[in-house]
């Protein structure tokens, strides 16, 4: 029961001296930064990192962890209310969160996101506390081939994000994969589609694409609606609490999302994007109302939000036990440790137990603090929806541009965001779904590189793609999903729309059950 004793000391550390104040400041500032359109966890942490330079390592890391959790929750606020996510992981939350807000259920969506974040965060932390050692070794079994199999599975899951015409959804995925090829190729060092601009050598920044496609094109869409006098600002913010029926619908989503998020988080490099995506796909598959997804299904908020926060605990396992960052946000935490003069590696747990357990303890505290801090604010947050169009657009545009610049302190990223703003507006007008496009950009690079790494290691033998059970399982599941989708529409079993139609037909017969 050593672990419990260590955890108790860790939580005590979080409350001792100024540390609790740092947790509070971190969680609070993180939420507000994350809430700004165009800013999400990884940009938020990078931006606020200098705040912690004057502090001792424990205090500084504690504050950063507060910022991490805070900006994740903040990111979901702007996705739900303003339709402008700041990170890939909150793109998924937006899909159903924003339609809920437009229906006057914004308060409930925020409340659900807060509860899901809390439950997901807790599951992730409990996993981190008790399963770190065995799981860290498991994570090492993910080599290029296993990673490729997981990414393939995730890419196939993006199909569940498609709404409307399948052709347009597939087009979105292909455009996304094409964008992901820009930059210096990792394996050969050759420049691809860079037009000789050093700014494109590292590829097109995913966050700048997100800011453009969602944030800036949202402004264009709003302007169009205002000019056409169709600007329907939300008149009522509705009841802030979740209805009992909503609770009932998402109680299992919280748990499913938490477990998926934790497991995916452990795999180095997979991160929040894959976690939220797989959770969304799982929710849609297991839901009795798949037709509501994309139109404001509360499970679509509950599952992915829980998965997103649970993946933090998972991603911290390789970081703490092996010194290997599992996501872009944990990579910044690793950098912070080095700046504080701590050498991360396999000795971190044994040689700096006070620091590591202090951080874990503060994450537990930050998790609770965020729920307590944010639930009372929900009433204020949702009033953003009632803001008149013109100033709201100006604010979104200003923050989107600032957010793009703050990525790398480079004006080029603003240009990227603006170009994608226009592209996003055009694609929206043509009813091409943007979420699969962004997910394809996020997955494309890793998918291609891991495929080529795996094939290099096997000398081009395709058998090298299935060196282990893990790879076989993911590839098998992917193949199964494709086969089912290809064969079953004829039998009308798999098509959510047909199921919905059948149910609607049933409902018409018995209207009183509603």
């Amino acid at each position: 029961m050593d672990t419990i004793a260590f955890l108790a000391t860790g939580i005590a550390t979080a409350f001792s001296g100024w540390n609790f104040v740092y947790v509070l400041i971190g969680a609070f500032v993180g939420t507000w930064i994350g809430m700004l359109p165009g800013l999400g966890p990884s940009t938020g942490i990078a931006l606020l990192l200098p705040l912690t330079y004057g502090l001792d390592p424990t205090g500084g890391m504690i504050m950063l962890c507060g910022i991490y959790f805070g900006s994740m929750y903040g990111g979901s606020i702007s996705s739900i209310l303003l339709n402008t996510p700041g990170d890939v992981s909150s793109v998924i939350t937006m899909l159903d969160g924003n339609p809920m807000a437009r229906r006057g259920r914004g308060g409930a969506a925020l409340f659900c996101a807060a509860v899901a974040s809390f439950i997901g965060g807790s599951v992730g932390l409990v996993g981190l506390t008790f399963l770190a050692e065995p799981i860290a070794r498991f994570a090492l079994r993910f080599g290029p081939a296993e990673y490729f199999a997981l990414m393939t599975f995730a890419l196939i899951a993006t199909a569940t994000l498609m709404q409307g015409a399948a052709v347009k959804g597939l087009m979105a995925i292909v455009i996304g994969l094409m964008i992901a090829t820009v930059g210096i190729d990792l394996q050969s060092g050759a420049a691809r589609f860079t037009m000789n601009s050093p700014n494109l050598f590292d590829g097109i920044s995913l966050i700048a694409v997100i800011i453009g496609l969602f944030g800036i094109s949202e402004v264009f869409t709003n302007i169009q609606e205002i000019m056409a006098r169709r600007w329907g600002k939300v008149e009522t913010v509705g009841r802030l609490w979740m209805e009992p029926s909503e609770w009932k619908r998402c109680r299992f989503s919280f748990l499913r999302g938490s477990v998926i998020g934790f497991m995916v988080g452990v795999v180095p490099g997979a991160g929040g994007a894959v976690a939220t995506l797989l959770s969304y796909a799982a929710e849609r598959r297991s839901s009795r109302h798949p037709e509501e997804f994309g139109k404001g299904a509360i499970e679509g908020v509950a599952g992915p939000e829980a998965a997103n926060n649970a993946s933090v605990g998972g991603a911290l396992i390789p970081l703490f036990t092996l010194g290997l960052p599992g996501s872009s946000a944990t990579a910044i935490l690793l950098g912070a440790l080095m700046i504080f003069g701590i050498q991360p590696g396999p000795h971190l747990f044994t040689e700096n137990p006070d620091l590591v357990w202090g951080i874990i303890g503060s994450l537990y505290v930050a998790n609770v603090v965020l729920v307590i801090l944010n639930i009372p604010f929900i009433g204020i947050f949702v009033r953003m929806l009632m803001m008149p169009g013109a100033p709201l657009n100006a604010i979104i545009l200003l923050l989107a541009v600032t957010g793009a610049y703050s990525l790398n302190n480079n004006v080029f990223d603003i240009q990227v965001a603006l170009v994608f703003g226009v592209i996003g507006f055009l694609l929206r007008s043509a009813q091409v779904p943007l979420a699969p496009l962004v997910l394809a950009v996020a997955l494309g690079g890793g998918l291609e590189q891991s495929l080529r790494q795996a094939l290099s290691l096997s000398d081009g033998d395709p058998a090298g793609l299935v060196p282990s059970g893990i790879a076989a399982v993911f590839l098998g599941l992917s193949a199964l999903l494709v086969l089912l989708a290809a064969i079953l529409p004829a039998t009308r079993l798999m098509s959510p729309r047909n199921r919905a139609l059948r149910r609607a037909a049933k409902k018409e017969k018995r209207p009183q059950t509603q």
Partner: protein, 323 residues
């Protein structure tokens, strides 16, 4: 009247020469522009320099600004937008030479103002702790007999320091450097993960990337490409020279300023960096990062960079990356 105007002229002359002398000293905030994200190797070097210099060596505050992109080229270009301004400096590594040779960046070191070389970062040749390759001799034998059976992985780009060191080993031992299965990972930690998970057999990376894993017994370091043995966890590891192979290579790290710096400005920075290199605080940074001191001033750095470029040209040609 004539006397008066002569006095004015003299006063002006004094004032101008005073201004010239002052120009060789920073008068406001100094920015170290780092062409990489916080926490990486470049960033750690910059922050180590910042900490030591701010502690009484330079009278002005120092800010470290991260402008990642294109292996450092974006940061260098941004620094170079302040020609002749000594308040902007940046960190360089062999990347600037490789980029020039491969034509990926129009920037040459001659177009900027190299100020000093500070350290070299020598490399570890490492395998998994349970690997059949027990010693450097085993590795050499395996590479000679069946190079195509070895799975070699490293970060971050073909033709970088890790790859060049491998080409040097190939030359010294006499095996075909193109034969081993070669994969490139995005970052040092991905390469370490792949080695720990035994997805690759063998990797090369700067000593600091492996030292902690050598200490924990997860990784075996077979040899280092340093002129002399390194310290800390790696003090038992032989050098290639000891083993009879002429492989001495490690990327350098130095400081560079924008184009058109005056000799006095260069002299100020040379002096400040030399003072810095002599402090205990800096020596501690050097030891903790498994660096080796390699202090050179402006003139020496210019010659050094030219020799390094020739050496890299040869290695990159061996690797098939240059025609």
């Amino acid at each position: 009247m004539a006397a008066f105007s002569r006095i004015v002229a003299m006063a002006l002359a004094v004032a101008t020469s005073a201004a010239a002398a002052q120009a060789a000293e920073p008068t406001r905030v100094i920015e170290i522009i780092v062409g990489a994200s916080p926490g990486g190797g470049f960033d750690r070097t910059a922050r180590a320099i910042e900490r030591v210099l701010e502690d009484g060596i330079v009278g002005q505050p120092i800010n470290v600004i991260n402008q990642p992109g294109a292996g450092g080229a974006v940061g260098l270009a941004s620094m170079n937008r302040h020609p002749g301004d000594m308040h902007y400096i940046s960190i360089i590594s062999p990347n600037i030479l490789t980029d020039e040779l491969r034509g990926t960046s129009p920037m040459t070191f001659e177009a900027l103002t190299p100020i000093a070389t500070l350290v070299s970062e020598y490399l570890c040749f490492a395998v998994h702790a349970d690997s059949d390759l027990e010693t450097a001799a085993d590795l050499v034998a395996a590479l000679k007999e069946k190079p195509e059976a070895i799975r070699f992985g490293f970060a971050t780009t073909p033709g970088n320091h890790n790859h060049v060191a491998f080409a040097q080993l190939a030359g010294a031992v006499g095996f075909d450097v193109m034969k081993p299965k070669t994969v490139i990972f995005k970052g040092a930690s991905e390469a370490v993960t792949a080695l720990l998970g035994r997805h690759i057999d063998f990797s090369i990376a700067p000593a600091a990337s492996f030292a902690e894993y050598v200490r924990s017994g997860d990784v075996k370091c077979l040899a280092v490409s340093a002129p002399e043995r390194l310290g800390g966890a790696l003090s038992d590891v032989p050098t290639w020279t000891e083993l009879g192979y002429d492989v001495v290579y490690g990327p350098f790290r130095g400081v560079i300023g924008p184009q058109g710096m005056e000799p006095e400005q260069i002299a100020f920075w040379e002096d400040a960096l030399q003072k810095m290199a002599a402090t205990e605080a800096w020596k501690k940074e050097v030891a903790e990062n498994y660096w080796t001191e390699n202090v050179k001033g402006h003139d020496e750095t210019m010659t050094f960079l030219a020799t390094e470029r020739d050496l890299l040209r040869a290695s990159l040609t061996d690797l098939g990356l240059l025609q």
